[in-house]
Amino acid sequence: MEHLEEVFRAARREAEQAEVFSVSSRTVSVQFEANELKQVQTKESSSTALRIFREGRIGFATASGGGGWESLVDMAVETSQFGSPASFQFPSRFHRDSSKVPIFDSKVEEIAMERMVEIGKEIIAKIRGHTPGILCDVQVTKGTSSVSLINSQGGEGRYDKSFLGFSLEGILVRDTDMLFVGDSASSCRPDFIGIDDLADRVIWQLEMAKKKAAVSTKLLPVIFTPNGVASALLSPLMLAFNGKTVLEGASPLKDKRGEQVFDKRLSLWDDATVAYGVGSYPFDDEGVPSQHLPLVTNGVVTNFLYDLQTAALAGTQSTGNGRRVGGGFPSPAISSLRLCRSGGDVSFRAMVEDMKEGLIVEQVIGAEQGNVLSGDFGGNLLLGYKVENGEIIGRVKDTMIAGNVYQVLKELLGIGQEARWVGGILQTPSLYCPRVSVATKES
């Protein structure tokens, strides 16, 4: 942080344009392993990134930790000899007049480590109260971070952000049979998340998985719970709406703007303005103001996600989605996605009752390993339940699902009434899809 101005001034002497981005954070987390507190940790980290335009080309370098910022300018100059041509301008103003996105709550700082330990113990006590033999790994994490950005167009800004999160992974082993359950909750505002919600969801998973059920290899209707949507369907969609994938012509949606691609009742937003949302920010990592951006409106593709460079190459504007993973090179990425319905919603119970034979998918592993670019998903069902004649009859194992998001989301049998946040970055209802391929071991 203290080096930001210094790096900026030094860079301006070497380059036509310069931008310095700096982020520092402090997180504390308590970690329970197999029901017991194993470790408490405090992490401090900071990083500074310099981007320059030199002789019309982009140079980029990062320095994290205590050292290295003195060599930032040299490293950026070196890379600029080979960098791509700079085809955009840094923004001169970071804020819109009216917008102010709340993402900091000073209460986070007041939560003592002892209280975090208690929270973890309470979560574990609730789960073990239901299933005594379960082994829980629980993490309670709090943190604050500050972001500063300055550029040679006169743009300058900074903000602070807070974070509190709980996560639980439970494992129950019987012989070689392993059952994994789990969920998480996170917010910038401690009051927005509760232990009971998290525990109730995990207890529901344990209830549904109590018995085992068999399934055979065929096409079946599937309900993806909010967790299921996140683990099976999210990756291909994030890739397809990424302006870079669209620009290079590899997105299946590249010529589909204005076309009906998804079920008419589905709308999808990228929303960086959710109050106290962990994906929210007042301006993105390049200084572009955040937005509430429609990606799909009533099934019609409306927008893609852009950062400055990609937008300039595509002849459009940045959508405020220039993000830097770990303080690195900016690239288009979601802030938080909200999948919304417009009418036709049904209760979860009604969806289940509607099924003669089908599956409920909570968690798949390996869903991102197929041809994600073409919309394919597929993976092993880590947690899923069989439905017969309108009732959940038990957990399904040794089973793979496979499908294509554009096929399964084209016409849905139902959209759940209750939308829920998953991992702080996706808000979605349950989705009831007509035909998904299910493959299993022949016994």
Partner: protein, 468 residues
């Protein structure tokens, strides 16, 4: 403060740093304390189609402290060396918040040593212009092939210089370089998009990524061929795995299960993983070995200062060993194996693999293929994932096998199974061991850790393949 970190860069042990650490540890009330310092640098080059998307360089420095009190750990990571004593005190205070059953770490002899890698052509010394020129060639080859819409090239090299010291008197400096390259060809026809890729890496040796022109042509051809390839029908098949995918299988399906931090506090799982239990046929031998020279997963001391050794996980089909940190070894009454590793100073060491592979058997490829009436030959990989009991891994390239012969190319397939039954279902092991150095391993938020894995061709009966 930067001056102090710069200090560490000097080769050979460093009196200044040793004294600083000794001072910080003096009089602290803990059962055990360790301190890590680290300096690293990296170069990234990313292409997307015709555009060089990113070319960047970075430096990183920092450190951490881990303290053990009454069976629980405190951990503090930091960017600045100032106030080191206070940081140690904070780690001790954190550890005191919890109290598990006290235990003694697996005993270790104090070590004082400096380890420097010996390479012919170190990637971090190659000029940026030369790296770019080589990648340009690969990119041009792929882009100029028929039906290719775009490419992805991800190149990364780096060097990590680590200093480890603990309250038992160890002081170890180790430097390690690493290199990864992934080439991807993306083909498109109408609305159909398919991709094929090549993933490799080395211990920093640059020659590993030179001369790949023919492979670049080949992945472009394959991506285009996939556009008209059929998708396999989901179900159970006899599958023949190439060395790359079989290596991923060894890593995903069994390697992770051998990491003792999954097992040491789980009594039920301990019963499943009892040493001496049969897991596969007599022909099955699985090994983890960080002592093999010059692989990505090779190192002399792990991040707890434990010297490394070869561990037989399965020998003759019988479970013989597992991977340990000093904590898990002590708690399970076994030996520390030197597998406690971190990706960087922001994380405490956890039990990880190094170079994991299935040892070669005697079957030839033709023999294994010839016996298959209908099956699938799966090659190369997109990735793999495991939940201990279940695993999935995906093949980048697949062919139907009919009447003992390779038949048509298939769309990429995802294989899945239950570890325990699948190991039993391996019915043939080839004689052609190859190590794969691409990718990286992720666990507990620590990704990518340099590892390698390998195998000869193997044949598995009754394997579930997902499909539509």
């Amino acid at each position: 403060m930067t001056a102090l970190f710069a200090f560490i860069r000097v080769k050979g042990y460093n009196k200044g740093v040793r004294n600083l650490i000794a001072d910080a540890l003096k009089g602290q009330d803990a059962d055990y304390i360790e301190i890590h310092f680290e300096e690293s640098q990296a170069t990234n080059i990313v292409y997307r189609g015709e555009r060089l998307e990113e070319i960047s360089r970075g430096r990183n420095s920092g450190g951490n402290i881990r303290a053990l009190v009454q069976g629980s750990w405190g951990f503090v990571s930091f960017n600045r060396l100032d106030g080191l004593r206070d940081k140690v005190a904070l780690a001790v205070e954190e550890a005191r918040l919890a109290s598990r059953e006290p235990f003694k770490l697996f005993p270790a002899e104090p070590v004082v040593e400096t380890v420097v890698p010996q390479l012919e052509k170190v990637s971090t010394d190659i000029p940026l212009a030369a790296k770019k020129e080589l990648l340009d060639e690969y990119n041009d080859i792929i882009l100029s092939s028929p039906k290719i819409q775009s490419t992805r090239i991800n190149y990364r090299d780096g060097r990590r210089q680590r200093t480890f010291a603990n309250s038992e008197g160890s002081y170890i400096e180790q430097a390690k370089t690493d290199l990864t390259l992934r080439l991807t060809a993306i083909a498109r026809e109408d609305n159909e998009v398919q991709q094929a890729g090549l993933s490799l890496g080395s211990n920093g040796e640059f020659s590993a990524v030179e001369g790949l022109h023919e492979q670049a042509r080949e992945i472009a051809r394959r991506a285009a061929a996939l556009l008209s390839a059929p998708q396999v029908k989901g179900g159970e098949y006899t599958v023949l795995l190439d060395p790359v995918l079989a290596g991923v299988f060894a890593h995903e399906a069994f390697g992770h299960l051998s990491e003792s931090d999954f097992v040491y506090q789980n009594e039920n799982l301990q019963q499943v993983m009892v040493l001496g239990k049969r897991f596969g046929g007599k022909h099955l031998n699985i090994v983890d070995d960080p002592t093999i020279p010059n692989l990505r997963g090779s190192y002399k001391y792990d991040d707890e200062g434990t010297p490394t050794r070869k561990t037989h996980l399965i020998r003759g089909g019988i479970l013989e060993g597992r991977l340990h940190s000093r904590e898990t070894a002590a708690k399970m009454g076994e030996r520390a194996t030197g597998n406690a590793r971190t990706i960087n100073y922001l994380f405490p060491p956890i039990v990880r693999m190094s170079n994991t592979f299935i040892e070669p058997g005697s079957a030839s490829f033709e023999e294994m293929l010839g016996d298959i009436e209908e099956g699938v030959y799966v090659k190369d990989w997109y990735g793999g994932m495991t939940s201990l009991e279940m695993f999935t891994f995906s093949a980048g390239e697949a062919y139907m096998i009919r009447r003992g012969r390779l038949a048509e190319l298939l769309r990429p397939v995802v294989l899945t199974g239950n570890v325990f039954t699948t190991l039993q279902n391996i019915d043939a092991i080839g004689n052609d061991l190859e190590m794969n150095q691409g990718g990286g391993c992720g666990k507990g938020g620590q990704y990518p850790l340099p590892v390698s894995n390998g195998s000869p061709h193997i044949r598995i009966r009754h394997c579930v393949i997902g499909g539509r």
